[in-house]
């Protein structure tokens, strides 16, 4: 990995670390949320940006992590770290199973298949309302969230601690993402996106690579969902809805698909925009809609994608 790539990503992580010392309490909370959700977008981008597969159903993986973690703590009596691992394992299993089925479809059919699976999962959350508490959601009590790690008591209600946990997770996700996209896998995924037939006729097992991308991406989503549930002590059905499948697509498109930092930037920007817009209008959906349309019409490569095309060819 070249030095400037390491420096750029290191600088972003360092800047986020320093931000906590100047940000207001409210901003610390918002940035924590952005960082957790940016992990979701980073994973989405592996599938959408690099492999070129547009899923409209990633909320099902996010929700898998979310509910597995929340139910693990509240119902199964797991400690927080155990619940986290449990949620990740569930996320991996669900993405392998769904991936094996959904990847048999291509193009528009793939989008609708993922949408439908995700909708079925969302309806299942409502159907099993006794367990999931439907719209109202599961609230994790503070005493269920306290745990000890290596002998130290950890209190997840502490906003600064939460911020730094989220940052550590995000940093881990960025590094993983960088490693993946710069590895052979990442290049083959791009090749599949650019010309699937040709890639198969060069002797690559296209199905296997697509499944790898799908599972990586689903696992990132579950990772983000689990972190969300445990850090914010909440799991509700809106987080499993179609809106949450479209969010990572929007964030990735805005920041720049197939750039590592694009989804992070896109998530942050969209939060800022919606926050800013809510100052004078309650129409945040309108905002999301207009941004999507403008991106498709005028800015299909997103911010970092355009920057890479114009100026920084080396940007991963």
């Amino acid at each position: 990995m070249t030095a400037r790539i390491v420096m750029l990503h290191g600088a972003v992580i360092l800047a986020l670390f320093l931000l906590q010392f100047v940000a207001s309490d409210y901003a610390v909370l918002t940035i924590t949320r952005i960082m957790v959700l940016a992990i979701y977008a980073l994973g989405y981008n592996i599938l959408f940006g690099y492999a070129g597969l547009l899923s409209l159903g990633h909320a099902m993986f996010f929700a898998t992590g979310l509910y597995a973690a929340a139910l693990g703590v509240t119902r199964l009596g797991l400690a927080v770290p155990e619940a986290f691992v449990f949620a990740l394992v569930c996320g991996i299993i669900v993405s392998v199973v769904i991936g094996l089925v959904a990847l048999r479809a291509t193009g528009v059919a793939f989008m609708i298949v993922t949408l439908m699976f995700s909708q079925a999962a969302f309806l299942a959350v409502l159907y099993f309302g006794d367990i999931t508490r439907g719209d109202e959601g599961i609230v994790i009590k503070d005493d269920q969230r306290n745990f000890s790690l290596f002998g130290d008591a950890v209190n997840l209600a502490d906003p600064v601690l939460r911020y730094n946990i989220a940052l550590a997770f995000l940093a881990l996700a960025i590094v993983l993402c960088l490693v993946v996209v710069r590895s052979k896998i990442g290049h083959v995924l791009v090749a599949i996106r650019e010309n699937e037939n040709r890639t198969a006729m060069l002797g690559y097992d296209v199905k296997r690579y697509k499944l790898i991308a799908f599972v990586l991406s689903g696992s990132f989503a579950a990772f983000s969902g689990a972190a969300y549930a445990l850090l914010f002590a909440y799991a509700g059905s809106t987080l499993a809805s179609i809106q949450y499948s479209i969010n990572p697509l929007l964030w990735t498109l805005l920041g720049g698909a197939a750039t590592v930092l694009g989804p992070v930037l896109g998530t942050a920007l969209m939060f800022l925009l919606v926050d800013f817009a809510s100052g004078f209008t309650s129409a945040s959906l309108l905002f999301v809609g207009v941004v999507l349309i403008l991106l498709v019409l005028f800015f299909p490569k997103g911010i970092l994608g355009t920057i890479r095309q114009r100026w920084l060819r080396w940007l991963p």
Partner: protein, 231 residues
């Protein structure tokens, strides 16, 4: 010489159309074999069956003595069957070098530029492949086939759209490749076929019409009628 590839009773139907019909075919190691035939004779379909891009309706395919009929295309490529598309199929948005690196299974890394040198594109390695002239894209397609280091290189009308000078280079190239690989060449350019091929197989309406040395084929009346006479 030993048999590299053999098909037995190979057939492919598209609905009612018999695009390839009961073809028994053998190619020896080290051979340069041309497959000729009028448009729509089933040449592309035939080599697509061999490469595994499409599944046969009936018949078996043996490669190095092993039955590969049920293997997916990418496994056959891994075993040494390389296929270049009749309709150019390259990574138009990636650099020429990355195209070849992908073929050499070293994407993103420092793959050898030797295949590009062989087709005369080494000086364009950093260019985006989609911006190459059409003839150069065909050559890149061939270079990708070379980068796979195949045992059997299938070339589907590789000289379509090449200039005369490029065709001369191409003849030299195929001769060189044939030193350590077997070449299955589909061509409409008869002088080139006569010059390059050790043996020629003539396909017509999905069936083998004739099979023999260039001299045999030139002398064959049936072939004259079906194909050469009109060409």
């Amino acid at each position: 010489m030993t048999v590299l590839l053999e098909t037995r009773g190979l057939s492919k139907n598209f609905g009612g159309l018999k695009a390839v019909s009961d073809v028994n075919f053998r190619i020896e190691r080290g051979e340069v074999r041309a497959v000729i035939g009028p448009n729509g004779a089933g040449k592309t379909t035939f080599v697509s069956l061999i490469s595994g891009r499409i599944a046969p309706s009936a018949g078996t395919i043996l490669f190095e003595g092993a039955d590969v009929t049920a293997l997916p295309a990418f496994r056959r490529v891994q075993r040494g069957i390389a296929y270049t598309f009749q309709i150019t199929s390259i990574y138009a948005n990636l650099s020429v070098a990355e195209n070849v690196a992908l073929a050499a299974h070293q994407p993103g890394g420092k793959a050898s530029l030797y295949p590009l040198e062989r087709v005369g594109l080494a000086d364009r390695a950093s260019q985006i492949a989609g911006t190459l002239a059409y003839g150069h894209q065909r050559l890149l397609e061939v270079a990708m086939g070379l980068a796979l280091k195949p045992k059997l290189l299938i070339l589907d009308e590789p000289t379509q759209g090449l200039s005369d000078a490029e065709i001369d280079n191409f003849i030299t190239l195929v001769r060189e490749v044939a030193k350590n690989a077997t070449v299955l060449l589909i061509e409409h350019n008869m002088p080139l076929v006569m010059e390059l091929a050790h043996r020629i197989t003539v396909l017509d309406r999905g069936m083998i019409l004739a099979d023999g040395t260039p001299e045999d084929i030139r002398a064959n009346a049936a072939v004259q009628a079906a194909y050469l006479g009109t060409g």
